[in-house]
């Protein structure tokens, strides 16, 4: 199975953007060197040692998934230190920290040369320090252990010189190098000498059976801060003399502001400035609340929306497209048309899903400070190199003059891959040079200006022969994600702004290992509707719902048990294992009392096998989601307790949206604006969730998303089993009362 890649196409030259002075032959050095303080030494770009201890750079967004702890554990394992003994920092923005799963290294010689030339001309590289697509662990699994092993090698070499001994007789433990005669030298005393040792490219790594940290649950490095209110999110950054800003933009997404009158706002308490932008305003004040109050009082004239005015029109456009059935075939096994003709039992249905907002708990915000040819940005963000790029682009400063400080984030889920909220702060800082300005999007702006999970329509025709699915023909349609994203984000590879369907349109339907001889997937031409983006599990979030509802309908039509039917269509060992596991966990073969029912769904999610059973109860009052059982293949489990937390989180994220997540459009505006009309699941509604972590060995898989795709279809299939009602439009709460 191919690994998911975030960007489609080659890493082409973005073209034309030149920022500040040219610097020939800029070496790709250690990005830590410019930020080291007196007495600090960098051993690789991932390890800093000074007199007080060891710091590990964990260069991925910590948005709740515990990545800082696991990345640090990979390094600490090889360094023979405990997690409690290291300080973990995010570190600076740099393509040295590229995510090589999301951006595979260039194999193509021509593309490689283009990149080299661009770098040497001083043009910004494509920003590749990305967190998303549950790719961090796959990217880091060897890389971060190698960094730890390299740093350890450098420390041992330095100690060997000190001892006058062969490095091979020395060992390491507890943050010190140990001589067989009992003498020890702590790493802190070796840092300076170690920094002069050449790091090896390919140091040997500990075999798995010698791991002492990895494979065991570790206390998260961010836990104490987050439980004492001392963890710093970008919204918490405070600098002397700073001001606070609130953002308000055209409610017609992507349209401009034609004029504004800020005279009333400017007279309000605390207001220092009102900044007009192409598509809205930013009010700067002495307090965020003053800024928010004044932003409401600016009279703005808005251009109208560049897309159809209502949700029903959006869905109708997608529905028309899938009914035409035209578009590129992303999979075409066997002879689907023939198999459909030959079958006496055909199931044909259409499924609809809505736009969804990310609704992170921390509203979008960033702090920017422009002074003396330097821009500093504090932002919880999922691509600091993109933030740096945008900073340079907007200010005209050279890229090296833009310093990005990536803080903890109160949720990301893909929303903080976008740079619109970072741009808000930079715009405000540019209007008031010398003053740090924290720009916050009020919750209402956050919900109404999202890059939404695409609304989508999926239509399938299934043929049953001899009691089993013989053919499946799926056509899907949604706004094209990559085109939408590249219109907003200039640093993304261009090339396609024609709204052609991309891989995100079909992941989850085209890549499933079901042994169905005639299997066709068509992506209908994309549409330009609301801006759409990456939302936890991306294309799988809608497509697994389409696929697994279709499989369930076919199992029902064939008169088979839905779990056994799936199992019989899979000869992929981890897939069978996860299905067998959830069958056992949920007591699948044990009949339930009246009013209770179960549903199942399966998915190969980013290459990893996942299966989920949801149990519901039915009463006169409605449907209640009682329990979820999920088994996920992680390949190798590095931190079982954190994996359990992530999978649980992802399941609830999927259930939450499935029961009442829906963004709608009226008069070109997003209707929902806050948690009263875009409700999230609450404790009283949350089902108990049991997670089984399967380790198939070999490849390692991330877990930040893999619980989400199966949640909606398993719940829908359970509702069908409970009521006989097949609900083909999400959220389920539109059709039944969900308690």
């Amino acid at each position: 199975m191919k690994r998911r890649t975030f960007l489609i196409g080659s890493a082409a030259v973005t073209g034309g953007v030149m920022l500040g002075g040219y610097r020939l032959l800029r070496p790709k050095g250690n990005p830590l060197l410019p930020i080291l303080e007196e007495g600090q030494f960098a051993l690789t770009p991932y390890v800093i040692v000074d007199g007080s201890g060891v710091s590990v750079v964990a260069p991925r967004a910590e948005m709740g998934q515990g990545i800082h702890s696991t990345l640090a554990a990979l390094v600490a394992e090889e360094l023979d230190v405990t997690l409690e003994d290291v300080r973990v920092i995010h570190g600076p923005a740099s393509n040295v920290y590229a995510n090589h799963i999301a951006f595979p290294p260039t194999q193509n010689r021509r593309a490689f040369l283009e990149e080299e030339i661009k770098t040497r001309l001083g043009a910004p590289e494509n920003p590749t320090q990305l967190t998303g697509g549950q790719s961090s662990i796959q990217d880091a699994f060897v890389k971060m252990r190698t960094a730890g092993a390299s740093a350890r090698h450098m420390l041992v070499e330095a100690a060997a010189r000190e001892f006058g001994a062969e490095p091979s007789i020395l060992s390491t433990t507890g943050g010190a190098v140990v001589h067989p005669d009992g003498r020890t030298i702590p790493y802190t005393a070796l840092a300076e000498a170690a920094a002069t040792v050449d790091p090896p490219d390919d140091p040997p790594l500990k075999p798995q059976e010698e791991w002492t940290l990895l494979g065991r649950s570790q206390p998260r490095v961010d836990m104490v801060g987050k439980c004492t209110g001392t963890a710093e999110y970008s919204i918490d950054m405070r600098l002397p003399g700073m001001l606070y800003a609130a953002v308000r933009r055209n409610p017609h997404l992507g349209a401009r502001m034609t004029s504004f009158d800020d005279s009333r706002a400017r007279s309000m308490r605390g207001v220092r400035d009102v900044i007009g932008l192409d598509d809205g305003i930013i009010v700067v004040a002495s307090n965020t609340w003053y800024a928010m109050m004044a932003a409401r009082e600016v009279d703005c004239s808005w251009e109208s929306a560049p897309y159809p005015a209502s949700t029903e029109e959006h869905l109708a456009a997608l529905s028309d497209a899938v009914r035409r059935g035209e578009g590129p075939r992303w999979r075409d096994d066997g002879d689907v048309d023939r198999a459909l003709e030959d079958s006496s039992v055909i199931v044909e249905e259409e499924y609809h899903v809505p736009y969804l907002a990310h609704a992170t708990m921390e509203p979008l915000n960033a702090l920017a400070w422009l002074r003396q040819g330097r821009l500093d940005i504090w932002a919880g963000n999922q691509n600091p190199t993109a933030a740096q790029f945008v900073g340079a682009q907007l200010t005209g400063l050279p890229i090296d003059a833009v310093h990005v400080h990536t803080t903890y984030m109160g949720g990301g889920f893909g929303r903080r891959l976008e740079m619109d909220f970072v741009a808000s702060a930079i715009r405000a800082a540019m209007a008031l040079p010398g003053t740090p300005i924290q720009a916050t999007w009020p919750r209402e702006e956050d919900i109404r200006h999202d890059s939404y999970r695409p609304t989508a329509v999926g239509r399938f025709r299934g043929a049953i022969s001899n009691g089993r699915p013989a053919a499946i023909d799926l056509t899907v349609s949604s706004p094209a994600l990559h085109s939408s994203a590249s219109r907003r984000n200039e640093y993304l590879p261009r090339g396609d702004v024609r709204d052609t369907p991309d891989k995100f349109s079909v992941t989850g339907v085209m890549d499933q290992p079901y042994r169905i001889d005639h299997y066709r997937v068509t992506a209908a031409p994309g549409q330009r509707l609301l801006p759409v983006g990456w939302w936890r599990s991306v294309g799988e979030s809608q497509n697994t719902f389409f696929m697994e509802s279709a499989i369930d309908e076919m199992a029902h039509a064939a008169g088979g048990d839905p779990l056994e039917m799936r199992r019989s269509l899979l000869d992929h060992a981890p897939s069978r294992t996860v299905l067998d596991t959830v069958a056992e966990m949920s007591g699948w073969s044990t009949p339930l009392p009246e009013g209770r029912a179960r549903g199942v769904a399966y998915a190969l999610s980013s290459g990893a096998a996942t299966a989920q059973v949801v149990e519901v109860s039915r009463s006169d009052d409605g449907i209640r989601v009682e329990r979820c059982w999920i088994a996920v293949d992680v390949g190798i489990a590095l931190d079982p307790r954190n994996i359990e937390a992530q999978v649980t989180s992802a399941v609830l994220f999927g259930i939450c949206s499935a029961i009442h997540g829906e963004i709608t459009v009226e008069d070109g505006r997003v209707v929902q604006s806050n948690y009263d009309d875009y409700p999230l699941i609450r404790m009283v509604q949350a089902p108990r969730i049991d997670v089984h972590v399967h380790e198939s060995g070999g490849e390692i898989y991330g877990v930040g998303e893999s619980g989400t795709p199966t949640a909606a279809p398993a719940l829908g299939n359970a509702i069908f089993a409970a009521t006989g009602q097949r609900i083909r439009r999400l959220p389920f709460g539109r059709s039944v009362t969900i308690l």
């Binding site: 515990g66 206390p219 308490r269 949720g411 919750r443 994220f653 939450c656 609450r682 009283v684």
Partner: protein, 164 residues
């Protein structure tokens, strides 16, 4: 001019006294965060829907985003006031033990809400917990661990009391 004359408010927060000059309609949340630098209390929704801004006033949980500073009378306690990294409150300690937080942004509010619940009832039932905690959203879905941590903290508080 829509400005009103400056008004001064005397607040008791975490055992200390503060004097704040502000528009009396300013919610307590923004006084804490932007005037006093007490940023442990979070802005989530501004309309009392998510609970991220929960503080205690005279032991009662209050959504500070919806309480004008002019009405903030009594002993205010924020997350900073119950314990810190070196001396966590028993509820915070239970949260750490159960590794509750993911993104962590809602947890100040969750913890303050849980403190209020446990002050009222040290051995809450699941229904008590559901009722007390369902006004606090957690987008990461850490509800199971929040529930477990409340029970652990409750058991500790019960054990810590001298026998009658």
């Amino acid at each position: 001019m829509s400005q009103r004359p400056d008004a001064s408010f005397a607040l008791r927060i975490n055992g200390a006294s503060f004097e704040v000059t502000a528009d009396g309609r300013m919610p307590l949340l923004w006084v804490l965060r932007d005037e006093l630098g007490l940023v442990g209390t979070k802005y989530g929704c501004g309309i009392g829907q998510c609970g991220a801004c929960t503080v205690l006033i005279d032991d009662t949980p209050v959504r500070s985003c919806a309480l004008p500073v002019s009405q903030a009378e009594g002993e205010i306690v924020t997350i900073e006031g119950i314990g810190g990294p070196d001396d966590p409150h028993p509820v915070q300690a239970a949260w750490i033990e159960h590794q509750v937080a993911q993104c962590g942004y809602c947890q100040s509010g969750q913890i303050m809400q849980a403190c209020a619940l446990l002050a009222r009832r040290e051995d809450p039932t699941d229904q008590d917990i559901d009722q007390a905690m369902s006004g606090n959203l957690c987008r990461c879905g850490a509800y199971g661990r929040i529930r477990a941590a409340i029970k652990t903290a409750g058991a500790r508080l019960t054990d810590a009391e001298p026998s009658p």
